[in-house]
Symmetry: D2
Subunit: 304 residues, 4 copies
């Protein structure tokens, strides 16, 4: 039993029509279903019904994020752990949103609404399960293979991290620390899968969303993605560059509603016994943008 | 608690001196320690003391393979499961080989000796744990980041697979089937991590080793690896090419002792809910070598 | 004044409809014009009206190849040189094929019909000449940027080479030699541009075509091209691999009419003072297929 | 007869020891010879004795640049053309610098000293001329294959360009223009080889050097180069990014003496009939840095 992956994010989109068009044709996600105020999208290589929900909203930002568990019984188990820990939970009934089963919902100390679920309609990745080719025809835009991770902000970073490490068996791959004794947490990167991070939590505005990231397989796809951004007048925040943290390569950019996106590629493999890497405040530039070795102001101040 | 990864392989090397030289300078593994009849090697980005043991031997082939578990208590737990299932186990005392803690040893129905362990000396990956650069200087040869997976052969494939799926919670990512009703297993690919396979088991000579594989991050590194093979007169069996199975890209080649190596790159991410992909016998060429769409005879007949 | 480049090839296509469909959708050339028995195609980044003419024919093979000269006056100049050298020429009037100006036609000692021309309708590369993006939308298939080179066969290799070197100022980048004193020419690679070869001439059947090649910018595009071949059941002859000769990376494959195509990438830059590299017969495997270090029989025996 | 390529640059290096160390170990050029106040370097795949001369100097900047001609007689021919055009020339005797033959020297209207030469000692590229492997062992740093181009500044851009186009048969691949009628030249990119540019000339400080560039074969090598810059605390000015102009991908960075270097990769092929592409002032950001679509101030103001 366990959390398997970051299953979905629901994103507020005040710039509604342009955002839909952007996620479909520029990012290259596939629209699976649509309601009055929600569009359900998936990356091409995901099998579940959706991983990104666009929500027609007055403001940008994260409406909720959700982790998919292996078994239905995991929900009871995690709920009990959360309640014992003092976290209030509620059950979100199946059918609250399209194609989804029941979920356990709670709020983490940094303010984000998190859900755990195990049931969602499976629609497949567009390839047959018998003798498939490696990729389907007809992909457009950057066409990432999947949702990869997100970085959320809030005040009590250590409190939020503890829920993931103590209750959900996440591990800390990297941390950025400050203070005279390097004992003040600025940010922690957490993994449950074998990737370098499934979620990261940074000191910042409560319930803030810094970015959510899509996976690209290779550095050369980042160049292609950057071309597509330029051709479509998408505002690039930073990159293509490398992160010191995770070693991953990256581009940060903004959707038409002001949410920061990332295309991320690479990074090392992690296991429960991977050591935690620490970055000190004086090397924050190299930690975040390894090539430039300095942050732009926008990167540290703009959240949605 | 769980198996975390394929932790090590021990490989018989009749062509002793040349094999050592090859794994160090052509593959680019790092020698960590040496005994009279064993050389202990690690890939640069691994933190544990070793992942490959070369064993001075009269014959090539697999001496043993081992999975690393998260906790010492996992050994008891898995041992009990194995015994209840009817598999005889023995304890390998700490210190039997260099740097290793205690292990549980057993033989799977295809004849391979498998060990489970949780303790091994940690030596690090050559980078500091504070403010590290993304890669160390001084790497040589193909310098893969890590041991990735192996393919073993034997008679009772389904019996061996059952141990991994039923007792160790591995999942089947892909299978190659034959027979009129596609109900004869030729090969199954199994994962415990989020990679496309940690071990695969194929119908073939008992206790056979088809190949073990090192991870390269990108397609371009396969070209570089092939250049290094050509410069060093390493015999290439197949590739650079793509697998239909796993979508990974690959080169197969032989060490000086006759063991088949692979450098492997890519493939999709897996989760416990990933569907099993099936390949039918009539597409076996495409399944194994997607570009060539036919097997060479050597590939299907040479095991060590 | 000078020959600027290999401007076009005209290719016999007995398998007419399938060949048209293949060059357009699998190779990804653009159809510019069509006649009863000819289809005119260009690679996307070429500016001239066409570089490949498919000719409805009873047999596969090269109908003619042509080099584009910088000035109309070059035709007179080369014609005089050819005639003085003892080569008979004829004038092909403008309008003989679509969009083309006048040409000087002659036959080289290996049997191929060669034309020199300077006028052809310019249609552009699909990008504006003011503030263009780096690539246009809507490309399909392998979409090479341009026709790169070809390899033709015949009996009198040295005789054919002499015309290119002595009359047209081509240089020999590489040669494959045989015989006790390495004085028998098997093949010579010739360049006029700064690429590793514009034409190569090999001992073989008179007026033979071994292959013509399209340019891809990067090794990763060869992988993509191979995927497209596999998805479309295109027969691959060899590759992806590297040539020892030119250092270029390559895939050889066949069109539906039996003409061998190549997608070629890389190779060094040449200048008139580049030294000629020699390959001896005993290393022919490595010379042609650097990774495999052996030729397949098909590669040395099949010409169209 | 013709200019074949940009043959060498001589660069002023006030920070003498660090600059030598940098060009050898960070860029990865090979030291061929050394005098009291000059170090002679070549990129690994160049055959001539040197392409970069470091000059111990009080100030950074370009001491001279030189083009290699095919024949000794080209010097007489170009000299006559220059003199007829009103440009004063002088002969630089063989042996003025190491390994070099005689040169014709003159100053272009933007203030740079230019030399034409045809003789220089040939030392080879480290690979045999018979049966060579594709690359030699022992390369360090970014190890570009060759010097590619440079961008110089001065007041009379059109005057300098005319010498290259009218006397030396260079062609304009791209131009950046300003003014109400787009008739003011800011910069022109010129080619004589089939690359996108051999030299570019921009409005700026007289006898200014904006940068000189080394060739890398692939986008992935730019990432590697950027890693090496970060590991060696080399200041990056911009990149990895793409140029709108030439489509090439690039990193700009500074040597320890304050000269701007570039590693450049890609760009289209050119021929004498390639159309000139024009960029208008309002798109200057996209023209120079296609991804960022804005210039940094340093890029437009710092020359050496």
């Amino acid at each position: 039993m366990a959390i398997m992956r970051l299953g979905r994010v629901e994103i507020g989109c005040p710039n509604w029509e342009k955002s839909i068009e952007y996620y479909k044709n520029v990012i290259g996600l596939i629209e699976v279903a649509r309601e009055e105020d929600r569009v359900y999208l998936k990356a091409w290589d995901e099998h579940d019904h959706h991983s990104v929900i666009l929500k027609k909203n007055d403001s940008a930002g994260l409406v909720h994020l959700a982790f998919k568990c292996e078994f239905a019984s995991d929900l009871d188990l995690y709920e009990e752990k959360l309640n014992n820990y003092g976290v209030t939970t509620e059950r979100v009934p199946a059918g609250t949103r399209l194609a989804e089963g029941e979920a356990v919902r709670f709020v983490i100390p940094t303010g984000q609404t998190v859900e755990l679920y195990s049931e969602i309609e499976v629609v497949g990745n567009g390839l047959p399960l018998v003798n498939p080719d490696p990729w389907p025809d007809g992909l457009v835009g950057m066409h990432p293979t999947r949702l990869d991770h997100l970085l959320v902000a809030g005040d009590d970073v250590d409190g939020a991290v503890k829920i993931f490490t103590d209750l959900f068996d996440f591990h800390v791959s990297e941390q950025l620390v400050a203070g005279e004794n390097n004992d003040v947490t600025i940010c922690k990167w957490l993994f449950k899968t074998n990737t370098a991070h499934d979620i990261a939590i940074i000191k910042g505005p409560q319930n803030g969303l810094h970015h959510f990231a899509f996976w690209l397989d290779e550095w050369v796809e980042l160049r292609n993605a950057a071309d597509i951004m330029a051709k479509n007048d998408v505002m690039i925040d930073a990159g293509p560059t490398r992160h010191g943290i995770t070693r991953g390569t990256t581009i940060y950019f903004f959707d038409p509603s002001g949410n920061r996106n990332e295309v991320f590629c690479g990074g090392y493999i992690t296991y429960p016994d991977s050591p935690t890497i620490t970055w000190t405040e004086d090397t924050i530039g190299k930690a975040i943008f390894y090539f430039e070795r300095e942050l732009n102001e926008r990167f540290t101040t703009v959240f949605s």
